[in-house]
């Protein structure tokens, strides 16, 4: 079960010709795939394309009706390899993932598919996770497109353009026998907008048709001598074909005045801007703020907008640059591949136009409208001073005020079952001293942030154990962390299998929360839930033992901090050699709440006995040291002003978002903290007997309290 249900979104996929589609960018892509007659879709979830996967996963009936095959791939490599279906058959296929990490994983299959080429249109949709909100290394997918000779689309960020580019992408792929990448930036995936829908198209040729009529062409297989032919074919046939298609169909766009003395000034002062399609909106806003464009993109400076950022179209570039003194290139990230190629094109054609890029524009970081405005201002002051804006004056918030605003690093959710694992690690660290910790990708990576500050490196998804493999201990073992998602993505082989084979003496902690939780709670092989469309409930421990793991311990309730701590201590100190694997399982709290909350609500409504648990802190015994917070970091465990007039430090406080996971109590026991925590169990609709017992107890306690109260009054101030 994914994080949320997408039934409503699935309805949008059914819209027919002429109807208005309203929704998110990535959902529009999903609809566009169906409108393009796609025969199969695969991919691996991750921000910012998770919704595409989730919606398709919820759209089983619709897809079955259209004969479209959908698969939640085991990894990006699996997804890319799936495109093999388009090599021999006229099948349109699309796969999606988060880039650049997903592209890294997929690169083996991508190189193969790009080398042999395709017959049916093959589209790779990459969610470019770059800039604010990104959680990965800042690299460009562009490099992959160039080195494998795949065409890279970067449409203007509005729904009609994006949808159009999906369809054109398939056509381009077919016209040039080359897989095509469609790059969407994070915000484009999540932007809302509208477009006029078309009917969904049932593929003329389906995956079952292909399976029934196998075709073979050894020239498409990467093996000598065909691989050498592929290289030539790429250069001599596919590349020119792509350029021809892009030019014919005007995939790139021009805005503003075009021609000799554009931008309203005379002759040799002419300038222009070449922009990646995805940055066009930010560029227009920057121009608008300078007074050189309007809301509808009526720029006073000529713009050449690259909806296809690879390959460049030499004729178009030449025509645009000819007669201009300088052209600004807006190209996000580095290296500046486009700028390099533009310069080469200028030299080859002997055109004297100056290509200006990473000089006024920053080398690193997202090109927001603000950044473009600044860079553009500087460009204009150099090349068109008559229309250049004033140097903007900045008025930053004074440092004393700015210093008050705290950073908000991401952390584990309220009640997260992964938190107690790291609490236990902290406690073991106090006993045995710090270990080298090789972290992985997933929610558990938040352990590297406050308050836990655990983790030395992270090398990639499922690579936690592999990242610890060089540490051959004498007496101190390294600890590797791996999530269940990473485990099934590749960790079983790259981590566990490798450790068994190489006789590693490390400790691997597999965090099993039942889902691929960080990407939205998708099911995986070891998920506990029944899933109608897939098979689940394949235990991780069995897989570990299956590849030869011997020392394997399962902890089935991570909230048991003492047990977690003891198991971890044992793993770190046992004389047994070989990899030590701990599988720590408890269900992701987000998903659990999503499932249980409505059930509880209903039970309450039906008058059934329901118990709600939550924690609290007594402010008069809390002394405001906050050790508990340093061992937890739970969002519902916070602080508030000390109600005690003599004390100054704020006291700990549990707010009503507490889900009663029990960690606070376990921690105060395991770490011998303080007696301030209490667990409250609120019983709604209690039974008759229960009520009676409670009444009797209450009567006795009230009596004692009355006595106590009188004694207290006697010594009152």
């Amino acid at each position: 079960m994914a994080e949320r249900s997408f039934k409503k979104e699935v309805e949008k996929l059914k819209l027919g010709a002429g109807e208005r589609f309203e929704g998110e960018g990535i959902l529009a892509v999903t609809k566009a795939l169906l409108q393009s007659g796609v025969a199969y879709v695969g991919g691996y979830q991750g921000s910012p394309i998770s919704h595409l996967m989730d919606v398709f996963a919820d759209a089983n009936d619709l897809l079955a009706g259209l004969d479209v095959h959908f698969e939640a791939s085991a990894s990006e490599a699996t997804a890319a390899a799936m495109l093999a279906a388009s090599v021999n058959y006229p099948l349109r296929g699309a796969v999606a993932w988060k880039s650049v990490v997903g592209t890294n994983v997929a690169s083996d299959a991508l190189s193969n598919i790009a080398s042999g080429g395709v017959r049916g249109g093959a589209l790779v949709i990459v969610g470019e996770d770059y800039g604010e909100g990104s959680s990965i290394m800042q690299e460009r997918t562009h490099a992959f497109a160039m080195k494998s000779q795949m065409w890279l689309l970067d449409p203007r960020p509005n729904l009609p353009s994006i949808v159009d580019m999906v369809e054109r992408g398939f056509q381009l792929s077919e016209a040039s026998n080359t897989p095509v990448m469609l790059e969407l930036r994070v915000r484009s995936c999540h932007l809302t907008g509208e477009f006029t829908a078309k009917d969904n198209i049932r593929p003329e040729f389906t995956v079952s048709d292909a399976a029934a009529n196998p075709q073979r062409d050894t020239d498409r297989i990467v093996l000598p001598p065909a691989n050498f032919l592929h290289e030539v074919e790429k250069v001599e046939r596919r590349w020119p074909a792509a350029i021809e298609f892009i030019r014919e169909n005007r995939l790139n766009e021009w805005f503003g005045p075009q021609g000799g003395d554009d931008r309203g000034t005379e002759g040799d002062g002419a300038i222009g801007i070449i922009v990646q399609g995805g940055l066009y909106n930010n560029l227009n806003r920057a121009l608008e703020l300078i007074g050189l464009s309007d809301s509808f993109g009526n720029s006073r400076i000529p713009i050449y907008c690259l909806n296809v950022t690879y390959p460049l179209i030499p004729d178009e570039v030449r025509d645009f640059c000819l007669g201009k003194k300088a052209v600004l290139v807006l190209e996000e990230g580095q290296p500046e591949f486009i700028e390099h190629e533009l310069n080469t094109l200028m030299r080859r054609s002997d055109i004297q136009t100056r290509i200006v890029g990473k000089d006024p524009m920053p080398r690193a970081g997202e090109y927001t409208a603000q950044v473009i405005r600044d860079g553009l201002g500087s460009f204009l002051r150099d090349w068109a001073p008559d229309i250049a804006p004033q140097q903007p004056r900045s008025d930053p918030l004074p440092a004393e005020a700015a210093a008050q605003i705290p950073g908000r690093p991401a952390g584990f959710c309220t009640g997260c079952p992964e938190r107690p694992i790291f609490t236990a690690m902290k406690l073991v660290e106090r006993e045995l001293g710090p270990s080298h910790v090789s972290a992985d990708i997933g929610c558990h990576l938040f352990s590297i942030l406050p308050p836990f500050n655990i983790g030395n490196t992270t090398m990639g998804y499922g690579l936690g154990a592999a990242g610890a493999s060089a540490f051959k201990p004498k007496d101190k073992r390294a600890i590797a962390i791996m999530g269940d998602g990473g485990f099934w993505h590749n960790g079983l082989t790259s981590g566990i299998g490798n450790a068994v084979f190489n006789k590693d003496d490390t400790v691997t902690l597999i965090v099993d929360n039942g889902y691929s939780a960080a990407t939205g709670g998708q099911d995986i092989l070891s998920s506990r839930a029944e899933n109608k469309a897939r098979t689940t409930q394949h235990p991780i421990e069995r897989a570990v033992r299956g590849v030869g793991g011997k020392w394997v311990r399962s902890v089935n309730r991570t909230y048991d901090v003492a047990r977690m701590r003891d198991t971890l201590r044992e793993a770190l100190t046992t004389p047994e050699k070989g990899p030590k694997v701990i599988v720590a399982s408890s269900e992701c709290m987000l998903n659990r709440q999503r499932r249980e909350k409505p059930l509880k609500k209903k039970a309450l409504k039906d008058g059934k006995r329901v118990v709600r648990e939550r924690f609290g802190v007594d402010p008069d015994t809390c002394t405001g040291d906050h050790s508990c917070i340093r061992l937890s970091g739970c969002p519902s465990l916070s602080i508030r002003p000390n109600p005690d007039p003599l004390r100054q430090d704020p006291v700990a406080h549990v707010d009503n978002s507490c889900v009663g996971c029990g960690l606070c109590g376990e921690v105060s026991h395991a770490a011998v903290l303080c007696p301030s925590f209490y667990k409250a169990q609120l019983v709604s609709n209690p039974g008759r007997w229960e009520r009676l017992v409670h009444k009797v107890r209450q009567a006795v306690i009230s009596m004692l309290q009355g006595w106590d109260g009188r004694a207290r009054a006697a010594r009152a101030f």
Binding site: R20, P48, E132, S135, P157, P160, V186, R187, S188, H190, T192, T196, Y280, N281, N282, R285, D294, S295, F296, G297, Q404, I405, R408, G411, C413, T414, P451, T623, D625, S627, R630, G633, I639, P645, L646, R647, Q648, D649, C664, G665, S668, H669, V672, L673, C674, P675, F677, Y678, A680, Q681, L682, S684, R691, R697, I701, S702, L704, D708, R715, F717
Partner: protein, 504 residues
């Protein structure tokens, strides 16, 4: 600068930035805003970077709305106006922030500008992990943010949205939506906002209630969250009046409030005689003090805290009170027809048990290896103490009645010795450097908590007391003492303190 001035001929455009924490419904709010705009024939676009939806992360949602002119109505609906994907500093009409520091962040990032922006921000705090996990008080200053918010917005609407959410039994996104409507910053009538809530079809009733509260709160003056107020304690008994008179007669005025609180607390803690002893100690310091009497005022506070150290009797005493159960019921929002069970997490170790015993006996056990080894396993596990059950309540109740035995306990002997040593140091220092003596008084703050935390506090206290005797050349001793104390509160492992002491 008005929204139109940058593109004088263009259509009217409005932009709204929403700064919220994951899980606060910022996305829902952004959707509602777009729904309202579209209902009025405007083109609306929203963007966000949800990615890490965890509660602690701060997220910006951004909505742009363009009033379509004739040109667009005549033209292709698929040729929308060109909209930005992120708020541009200086180009935002409305900022809605769900928390005070997020409002501050909007100001910091330049989203709110003095000539243009309506800034709607909650004045309550959701503390960041860095503020929560400090060993003392690591909270950011709200005053500075409020000041900046007022200066750097055309209009600042601030109120405690969390309190309003509570009151309305709603969610904070509905309050923000109401405040947005109530601010009048968008040219749409109240009805269309309410229609957006109705149209979404989820929790309509409570959302509308929250919306209404938010709408009205936006019309009010700036208001801050209520802080706990401590009243000047008024005596209710004969002893109380006598001690009050003594305080007022013999202590300098700046120390009165803390001394009254101190006396009240110690009478409750042990009895009148103990409170008298407190005053006696305090007077011995006041005798060495001079205006502005900071030393005495600080001593009144810290001495009372130290003398009411948390032993097992005190903890039991605080847990069994009637007022405590009432407080718990309120805190966990128990409804009248709900039964409440309360379980405490206690772990009296052998050490704490012995500390409660008469000093001789406690010392004998702790001093004997054989006995400790024999008894220790009995007290190694934490106990789940269900205070609402008869057995456990009675146990705690009996423990709380052991107050008269306290003066004979081992812990009492130890604490009084520590207090006396500390006060000797304070008095001796006060003769030559009152400011330094005040800093020594304040070092009591380092000793707090239970078990390991308490022991760490004692260690730090001893290290600071040792270190402050030898300030580095050229350093004022008082400033040095303060610096050491802050260093002791900087980290749990005492690294900062060690470093500071080594560098000296």
């Amino acid at each position: 600068m008005t929204p139109q001035s940058t593109a004088a001929a263009g259509p009217k455009r409005l932009s709204v930035a929403i700064l919220a924490l994951g899980g606060q419904g910022g996305g829902v709010l952004a959707d509602w805003v777009q729904t309202v705009a579209r209902a009025h024939g405007w083109t609306a676009q929203g963007t966000s970077v949800p990615g890490v939806a965890q509660r602690t992360g701060s997220t910006v949602y951004y909505v742009e709305m363009v009033q379509q002119g004739e040109r667009a109505q005549a033209g292709d609906p698929d040729e929308p106006p060109v909209m930005a994907l992120m708020p541009v500093p200086g180009d935002v009409d409305v900022v809605v922030a769900s928390e005070l520091m997020e409002a501050g962040r909007a100001v910091l990032r330049g989203f709110s500008s003095a000539d243009r922006t309506t800034l709607i921000g909650s004045t309550h705090r959701i503390y960041a992990i860095g503020e929560k996990s400090g060993m003392g008080d690591a909270r950011g200053s709200a005053e500075r943010i409020l000041e900046a918010a007022a200066q750097r917005s055309r209009r600042f609407i601030g109120f405690d949205m969390e309190a309003v959410t509570e009151r309305a039994g709603s969610v904070i996104s509905a309050i923000m939506f109401g405040a947005l409507a109530g601010s009048g910053a968008l040219p749409f009538g109240r009805g269309s906002f309410e229609d957006a809530i109705r149209g979404s079809g989820i929790a309509v009733e409570s959302n509308l209630r929250g919306f209404d509260e938010g709408f009205r709160a936006a019309q009010q003056e700036l208001s801050l969250p209520e802080e706990p107020q401590s009243d000047f304690p008024a005596p209710t008994s004969e002893t109380g009046r006598r001690l009050t008179a003594r305080i007022q007669g013999s202590l300098p005025e700046p120390a009165h409030e803390a001394a009254l609180h101190g006396v009240q607390r110690l009478m409750d803690y042990q009895g009148a005689a103990y409170a008298e002893a407190y005053l006696g100690r305090l007077l011995s310091i006041a005798a060495l003090d001079a205006p502005p009497y900071t030393l005495t005022a600080e001593a009144a506070r810290h001495l009372a805290l130290w003398m009411s150290y948390e032993d097992t009797i005190r903890v039991a005493d605080l847990k069994v009170r009637e007022t405590r159960m009432d407080r718990v019921r309120g805190e966990v929002r128990a409804e009248d027809d709900q039964l409440l069970k309360v379980t405490e997490y206690m772990h009296p170790r052998l050490r704490e048990v012995c500390e409660t015993l008469p000093a001789g006996m406690g010392r004998a056990i702790l001093g004997s290896r054989a006995l400790t080894r024999l008894l220790d396993p009995l007290f190694r596990k934490g106990r789940h103490v269900e205070t609402t059950s008869l057995r456990w309540y009675a146990m705690l109740f009996i423990l709380s009645r052991m107050r008269p035995l306290r003066p004979r306990s081992l812990r009492y002997a130890e604490e009084q010795a520590r207090i006396d040593a500390w006060l000797d140091e304070v008095r001796e220092t006060a003769l030559r450097d009152r400011v330094l003596a005040t800093e020594i008084v304040r070092c009591q703050r380092l000793i707090k908590g239970y078990g390991d935390t308490f022991e760490r506090g004692l260690r730090n206290f001893a290290a600071v007391m040792q270190g402050l005797r030898t300030p580095p050349p050229g350093r004022a001793p008082a400033a040095w003492a303060a610096e050491l104390r802050e260093a002791a509160l900087a980290d749990e492992d005492g690294e900062a303190l060690k470093e500071r002491l080594l560098a000296a």
